[in-house]
Symmetry: C2
Subunit: 167 residues, 2 copies
Amino acid sequence: MRAVQSAENFQNKMAMEGVPGSLGTSVGFSLRIGQTLFSSASLLFMSLGVEFYSYSAFCYLVTTMGLVIPWSCTLAVLDGYSVVVKCPVRQPGILFIIAAGDWVLSVLTLAAACSTASVVDLLFQTSSSFCTPKCCSRYQLSAAMAFLTWFLSLASALLNLWLLPSS
Amino acid sequence: MRAVQSAENFQNKMAMEGVPGSLGTSVGFSLRIGQTLFSSASLLFMSLGVEFYSYSAFCYLVTTMGLVIPWSCTLAVLDGYSVVVKCPVRQPGILFIIAAGDWVLSVLTLAAACSTASVVDLLFQTSSSFCTPKCCSRYQLSAAMAFLTWFLSLASALLNLWLLPSS
Protein backbone atom coordinates (compact mmCIF):
# COMPACT_ATOMS: atom_id res chain seq x y z
CA MET A 1 0.00 0.00 0.00
CA ARG A 2 2.80 2.38 0.96
CA ALA A 3 4.65 1.50 -2.25
CA VAL A 4 1.55 2.34 -4.32
CA GLN A 5 1.14 5.63 -2.44
CA SER A 6 4.78 6.62 -2.92
CA ALA A 7 4.56 5.75 -6.61
CA GLU A 8 1.45 7.94 -6.89
CA ASN A 9 3.22 10.77 -5.04
CA PHE A 10 6.18 10.47 -7.40
CA GLN A 11 3.86 10.52 -10.41
CA ASN A 12 2.01 13.61 -9.11
CA LYS A 13 5.32 15.34 -8.37
CA MET A 14 6.55 14.58 -11.90
CA ALA A 15 3.27 15.81 -13.38
CA MET A 16 3.44 19.05 -11.39
CA GLU A 17 7.14 19.84 -11.85
CA GLY A 18 7.54 18.21 -15.26
CA VAL A 19 10.08 15.62 -16.40
CA PRO A 20 13.54 17.28 -16.53
CA GLY A 21 14.00 18.47 -20.10
CA SER A 22 10.33 18.82 -20.95
CA LEU A 23 8.46 22.06 -21.55
CA GLY A 24 8.84 24.72 -18.86
CA THR A 25 11.91 23.29 -17.07
CA SER A 26 15.43 24.71 -16.97
CA VAL A 27 16.85 21.61 -18.75
CA GLY A 28 14.22 22.11 -21.46
CA PHE A 29 15.32 25.74 -21.76
CA SER A 30 18.97 24.63 -22.19
CA LEU A 31 17.94 22.11 -24.88
CA ARG A 32 16.12 24.85 -26.82
CA ILE A 33 19.07 27.24 -26.52
CA GLY A 34 21.37 24.46 -27.78
CA GLN A 35 19.07 23.77 -30.74
CA THR A 36 18.96 27.45 -31.65
CA LEU A 37 22.75 27.79 -31.48
CA PHE A 38 23.58 24.65 -33.45
CA SER A 39 20.96 25.26 -36.14
CA SER A 40 22.12 28.88 -36.56
CA ALA A 41 25.73 27.66 -36.83
CA SER A 42 24.70 25.08 -39.44
CA LEU A 43 22.84 27.72 -41.46
CA LEU A 44 25.74 30.19 -41.30
CA PHE A 45 28.40 27.64 -42.25
CA MET A 46 26.28 26.60 -45.22
CA SER A 47 25.09 29.94 -46.53
CA LEU A 48 27.80 32.55 -45.89
CA GLY A 49 30.18 32.91 -48.81
CA VAL A 50 29.55 29.44 -50.26
CA GLU A 51 27.51 28.63 -53.37
CA PHE A 52 25.08 26.27 -51.70
CA TYR A 53 22.19 26.77 -54.13
CA SER A 54 23.69 24.58 -56.86
CA TYR A 55 22.94 21.43 -54.82
CA SER A 56 19.38 20.56 -53.86
CA ALA A 57 20.46 18.76 -50.66
CA PHE A 58 22.12 21.95 -49.40
CA CYS A 59 19.05 24.04 -50.28
CA TYR A 60 16.95 21.55 -48.31
CA LEU A 61 19.27 21.91 -45.29
CA VAL A 62 18.99 25.71 -45.45
CA THR A 63 15.17 25.49 -45.67
CA THR A 64 14.96 23.08 -42.73
CA MET A 65 17.27 25.20 -40.59
CA GLY A 66 15.14 28.21 -41.51
CA LEU A 67 12.19 26.35 -39.96
CA VAL A 68 14.07 25.02 -36.90
CA ILE A 69 15.55 28.38 -35.82
CA PRO A 70 12.26 30.32 -35.30
CA TRP A 71 10.60 27.24 -33.70
CA SER A 72 13.46 26.75 -31.19
CA CYS A 73 13.72 30.49 -30.49
CA THR A 74 9.99 30.77 -29.74
CA LEU A 75 10.04 27.75 -27.44
CA ALA A 76 13.23 28.97 -25.73
CA VAL A 77 11.45 32.24 -24.91
CA LEU A 78 8.38 30.29 -23.67
CA ASP A 79 10.55 27.99 -21.53
CA GLY A 80 12.55 30.90 -20.14
CA TYR A 81 9.33 32.71 -19.20
CA SER A 82 7.91 29.52 -17.60
CA VAL A 83 11.08 29.03 -15.53
CA VAL A 84 11.09 32.67 -14.34
CA VAL A 85 7.39 32.84 -13.35
CA LYS A 86 7.47 29.15 -12.16
CA CYS A 87 4.24 28.35 -13.97
CA PRO A 88 4.82 25.75 -16.73
CA VAL A 89 2.36 25.39 -19.62
CA ARG A 90 0.23 22.25 -19.08
CA GLN A 91 -2.71 22.66 -21.52
CA PRO A 92 -3.00 19.33 -23.41
CA GLY A 93 -3.74 21.10 -26.72
CA ILE A 94 -0.61 23.24 -26.63
CA LEU A 95 1.51 20.30 -25.43
CA PHE A 96 0.23 18.16 -28.30
CA ILE A 97 1.07 20.85 -30.90
CA ILE A 98 4.56 21.30 -29.44
CA ALA A 99 5.23 17.54 -29.29
CA ALA A 100 3.99 17.03 -32.87
CA GLY A 101 6.05 20.00 -34.14
CA ASP A 102 9.15 18.67 -32.39
CA TRP A 103 8.71 15.25 -34.01
CA VAL A 104 8.19 16.66 -37.50
CA LEU A 105 11.18 19.01 -37.22
CA SER A 106 13.34 16.25 -35.76
CA VAL A 107 12.59 13.99 -38.76
CA LEU A 108 13.22 16.86 -41.22
CA THR A 109 16.52 17.75 -39.49
CA LEU A 110 17.74 14.15 -39.61
CA ALA A 111 16.83 13.92 -43.31
CA ALA A 112 18.63 17.21 -44.08
CA ALA A 113 21.73 16.23 -42.09
CA CYS A 114 22.00 12.83 -43.79
CA SER A 115 21.48 14.27 -47.28
CA THR A 116 24.11 16.96 -46.71
CA ALA A 117 26.61 14.52 -45.24
CA SER A 118 26.25 12.06 -48.12
CA VAL A 119 26.53 14.77 -50.79
CA VAL A 120 29.62 16.26 -49.11
CA ASP A 121 31.18 12.80 -48.93
CA LEU A 122 30.50 12.23 -52.64
CA LEU A 123 31.91 15.65 -53.65
CA PHE A 124 34.99 15.02 -51.54
CA GLN A 125 35.61 11.61 -53.11
CA THR A 126 34.83 12.47 -56.73
CA SER A 127 37.17 15.34 -57.44
CA SER A 128 38.45 18.56 -55.99
CA SER A 129 37.10 20.61 -58.90
CA PHE A 130 33.55 20.48 -57.49
CA CYS A 131 34.54 21.49 -54.01
CA THR A 132 37.65 23.28 -52.80
CA PRO A 133 39.05 22.13 -49.41
CA LYS A 134 37.83 25.34 -47.76
CA CYS A 135 34.27 24.86 -49.07
CA CYS A 136 34.24 21.16 -48.27
CA SER A 137 35.26 21.68 -44.65
CA ARG A 138 32.50 24.27 -44.25
CA TYR A 139 29.92 21.88 -45.71
CA GLN A 140 31.17 19.16 -43.34
CA LEU A 141 30.92 21.48 -40.33
CA SER A 142 27.40 22.44 -41.39
CA ALA A 143 26.37 18.76 -41.58
CA ALA A 144 27.93 18.07 -38.16
CA MET A 145 26.01 21.01 -36.64
CA ALA A 146 22.80 19.70 -38.24
CA PHE A 147 23.39 16.28 -36.62
CA LEU A 148 23.89 17.96 -33.21
CA THR A 149 20.64 19.92 -33.75
CA TRP A 150 18.93 16.60 -34.49
CA PHE A 151 20.23 15.01 -31.24
CA LEU A 152 18.90 17.87 -29.11
CA SER A 153 15.63 18.03 -31.08
CA LEU A 154 15.08 14.29 -30.58
CA ALA A 155 15.72 14.67 -26.84
CA SER A 156 13.09 17.46 -26.63
CA ALA A 157 10.63 15.43 -28.70
CA LEU A 158 11.03 12.28 -26.55
CA LEU A 159 10.71 14.17 -23.25
CA ASN A 160 7.62 16.08 -24.42
CA LEU A 161 6.07 12.83 -25.67
CA TRP A 162 6.66 11.39 -22.18
CA LEU A 163 4.83 14.36 -20.66
CA LEU A 164 1.83 14.11 -23.02
CA PRO A 165 -0.13 11.24 -21.37
CA SER A 166 0.27 12.70 -17.84
CA SER A 167 -1.24 16.08 -18.82
CA MET B 1 -19.13 6.81 -12.87
CA ARG B 2 -20.44 4.88 -15.86
CA ALA B 3 -18.15 6.89 -18.15
CA VAL B 4 -15.12 6.01 -15.99
CA GLN B 5 -16.12 2.34 -16.01
CA SER B 6 -16.59 2.23 -19.76
CA ALA B 7 -13.23 3.98 -20.25
CA GLU B 8 -11.61 1.34 -18.02
CA ASN B 9 -13.31 -1.45 -19.93
CA PHE B 10 -12.07 0.02 -23.19
CA GLN B 11 -8.55 0.29 -21.79
CA ASN B 12 -8.60 -3.33 -20.55
CA LYS B 13 -9.95 -4.53 -23.89
CA MET B 14 -7.19 -2.64 -25.73
CA ALA B 15 -4.55 -4.06 -23.35
CA MET B 16 -5.85 -7.62 -23.87
CA GLU B 17 -6.37 -7.50 -27.63
CA GLY B 18 -3.61 -5.03 -28.44
CA VAL B 19 -3.78 -1.78 -30.42
CA PRO B 20 -4.37 -2.63 -34.12
CA GLY B 21 -0.95 -2.75 -35.72
CA SER B 22 1.00 -3.58 -32.60
CA LEU B 23 2.76 -6.87 -31.85
CA GLY B 24 0.64 -9.99 -32.25
CA THR B 25 -2.22 -8.50 -34.31
CA SER B 26 -3.08 -9.18 -37.93
CA VAL B 27 -2.45 -5.52 -38.89
CA GLY B 28 0.96 -5.79 -37.21
CA PHE B 29 1.62 -8.92 -39.26
CA SER B 30 0.71 -7.07 -42.49
CA LEU B 31 3.04 -4.18 -41.54
CA ARG B 32 5.93 -6.61 -41.02
CA ILE B 33 5.24 -8.38 -44.32
CA GLY B 34 5.19 -4.98 -46.06
CA GLN B 35 8.50 -3.99 -44.45
CA THR B 36 10.10 -7.27 -45.53
CA LEU B 37 8.87 -6.91 -49.12
CA PHE B 38 9.85 -3.25 -49.56
CA SER B 39 13.26 -3.65 -47.92
CA SER B 40 14.01 -6.73 -50.06
CA ALA B 41 12.95 -4.81 -53.18
CA SER B 42 15.20 -1.88 -52.19
CA LEU B 43 18.15 -4.23 -51.63
CA LEU B 44 17.61 -6.06 -54.93
CA PHE B 45 17.21 -2.87 -57.01
CA MET B 46 20.42 -1.54 -55.49
CA SER B 47 22.64 -4.58 -55.53
CA LEU B 48 21.75 -6.70 -58.59
CA GLY B 49 23.86 -5.82 -61.62
CA VAL B 50 24.71 -2.27 -60.49
CA GLU B 51 28.06 -1.10 -59.14
CA PHE B 52 26.76 0.23 -55.85
CA TYR B 53 30.00 -0.20 -53.85
CA SER B 54 31.69 2.86 -55.35
CA TYR B 55 29.38 5.19 -53.37
CA SER B 56 29.39 5.08 -49.58
CA ALA B 57 25.72 6.16 -49.34
CA PHE B 58 24.66 3.14 -51.41
CA CYS B 59 26.81 0.79 -49.29
CA TYR B 60 25.10 2.23 -46.21
CA LEU B 61 21.67 1.55 -47.73
CA VAL B 62 22.63 -2.05 -48.49
CA THR B 63 23.93 -2.53 -44.92
CA THR B 64 20.79 -1.05 -43.38
CA MET B 65 18.50 -3.16 -45.55
CA GLY B 66 20.60 -6.18 -44.56
CA LEU B 67 19.66 -5.40 -40.96
CA VAL B 68 15.99 -4.57 -41.61
CA ILE B 69 15.18 -7.74 -43.61
CA PRO B 70 16.05 -10.34 -40.92
CA TRP B 71 14.46 -8.18 -38.18
CA SER B 72 11.16 -7.80 -40.11
CA CYS B 73 11.17 -11.48 -41.15
CA THR B 74 11.62 -12.67 -37.55
CA LEU B 75 8.88 -10.38 -36.25
CA ALA B 76 6.56 -11.37 -39.13
CA VAL B 77 6.97 -15.01 -38.10
CA LEU B 78 6.37 -14.10 -34.43
CA ASP B 79 3.26 -12.06 -35.34
CA GLY B 80 1.92 -14.78 -37.61
CA TYR B 81 2.36 -17.36 -34.86
CA SER B 82 0.66 -15.04 -32.30
CA VAL B 83 -2.30 -14.49 -34.64
CA VAL B 84 -2.71 -18.23 -35.29
CA VAL B 85 -2.49 -19.37 -31.64
CA LYS B 86 -4.33 -16.17 -30.47
CA CYS B 87 -1.84 -15.59 -27.66
CA PRO B 88 0.07 -12.30 -28.24
CA VAL B 89 3.43 -11.68 -26.54
CA ARG B 90 2.94 -9.27 -23.62
CA GLN B 91 6.16 -9.60 -21.57
CA PRO B 92 7.36 -6.00 -20.91
CA GLY B 93 11.03 -6.97 -21.47
CA ILE B 94 10.43 -8.41 -24.94
CA LEU B 95 8.10 -5.52 -25.87
CA PHE B 96 10.74 -3.00 -24.81
CA ILE B 97 13.45 -4.70 -26.91
CA ILE B 98 11.12 -4.82 -29.96
CA ALA B 99 10.06 -1.17 -29.56
CA ALA B 100 13.68 -0.01 -29.15
CA GLY B 101 14.83 -2.09 -32.15
CA ASP B 102 12.01 -0.68 -34.27
CA TRP B 103 12.99 2.88 -33.38
CA VAL B 104 16.68 2.36 -34.10
CA LEU B 105 15.99 0.64 -37.44
CA SER B 106 13.44 3.31 -38.39
CA VAL B 107 16.03 6.07 -37.85
CA LEU B 108 18.69 4.10 -39.77
CA THR B 109 16.27 3.47 -42.65
CA LEU B 110 15.33 7.15 -42.91
CA ALA B 111 19.00 8.13 -42.91
CA ALA B 112 19.81 5.58 -45.62
CA ALA B 113 16.83 6.59 -47.78
CA CYS B 114 17.69 10.31 -47.57
CA SER B 115 21.37 9.74 -48.30
CA THR B 116 20.59 7.56 -51.31
CA ALA B 117 17.98 9.98 -52.66
CA SER B 118 20.31 12.99 -52.39
CA VAL B 119 23.24 11.17 -54.00
CA VAL B 120 21.05 9.91 -56.87
CA ASP B 121 19.74 13.45 -57.40
CA LEU B 122 23.30 14.81 -57.50
CA LEU B 123 24.48 12.11 -59.95
CA PHE B 124 21.47 12.76 -62.16
CA GLN B 125 22.10 16.53 -62.22
CA THR B 126 25.88 16.49 -62.61
CA SER B 127 26.42 14.41 -65.72
CA SER B 128 25.29 11.24 -67.41
CA SER B 129 28.82 9.79 -67.37
CA PHE B 130 28.52 8.86 -63.68
CA CYS B 131 25.16 7.20 -64.02
CA THR B 132 23.47 5.81 -67.11
CA PRO B 133 19.66 6.30 -67.28
CA LYS B 134 19.10 2.58 -66.56
CA CYS B 135 21.29 2.67 -63.44
CA CYS B 136 19.83 5.96 -62.25
CA SER B 137 16.25 4.74 -62.43
CA ARG B 138 17.20 1.63 -60.46
CA TYR B 139 18.86 3.78 -57.78
CA GLN B 140 15.76 5.98 -57.66
CA LEU B 141 13.47 2.95 -57.28
CA SER B 142 15.69 1.64 -54.51
CA ALA B 143 15.48 4.97 -52.65
CA ALA B 144 11.67 5.03 -53.07
CA MET B 145 11.39 1.50 -51.66
CA ALA B 146 13.60 2.53 -48.73
CA PHE B 147 11.24 5.45 -48.00
CA LEU B 148 8.24 3.07 -48.06
CA THR B 149 10.09 0.73 -45.66
CA TRP B 150 10.65 3.72 -43.38
CA PHE B 151 6.92 4.64 -43.39
CA LEU B 152 5.90 1.11 -42.37
CA SER B 153 8.72 0.85 -39.85
CA LEU B 154 7.70 4.14 -38.24
CA ALA B 155 4.09 2.92 -38.00
CA SER B 156 5.22 -0.26 -36.22
CA ALA B 157 7.49 1.71 -33.90
CA LEU B 158 4.75 4.21 -32.94
CA LEU B 159 2.13 1.50 -32.33
CA ASN B 160 4.52 -0.60 -30.21
CA LEU B 161 5.53 2.48 -28.23
CA TRP B 162 1.81 3.06 -27.56
CA LEU B 163 1.51 -0.51 -26.25
CA LEU B 164 4.55 -0.24 -23.96
CA PRO B 165 3.05 1.66 -20.96
CA SER B 166 -0.09 -0.54 -20.87
CA SER B 167 1.91 -3.80 -20.59
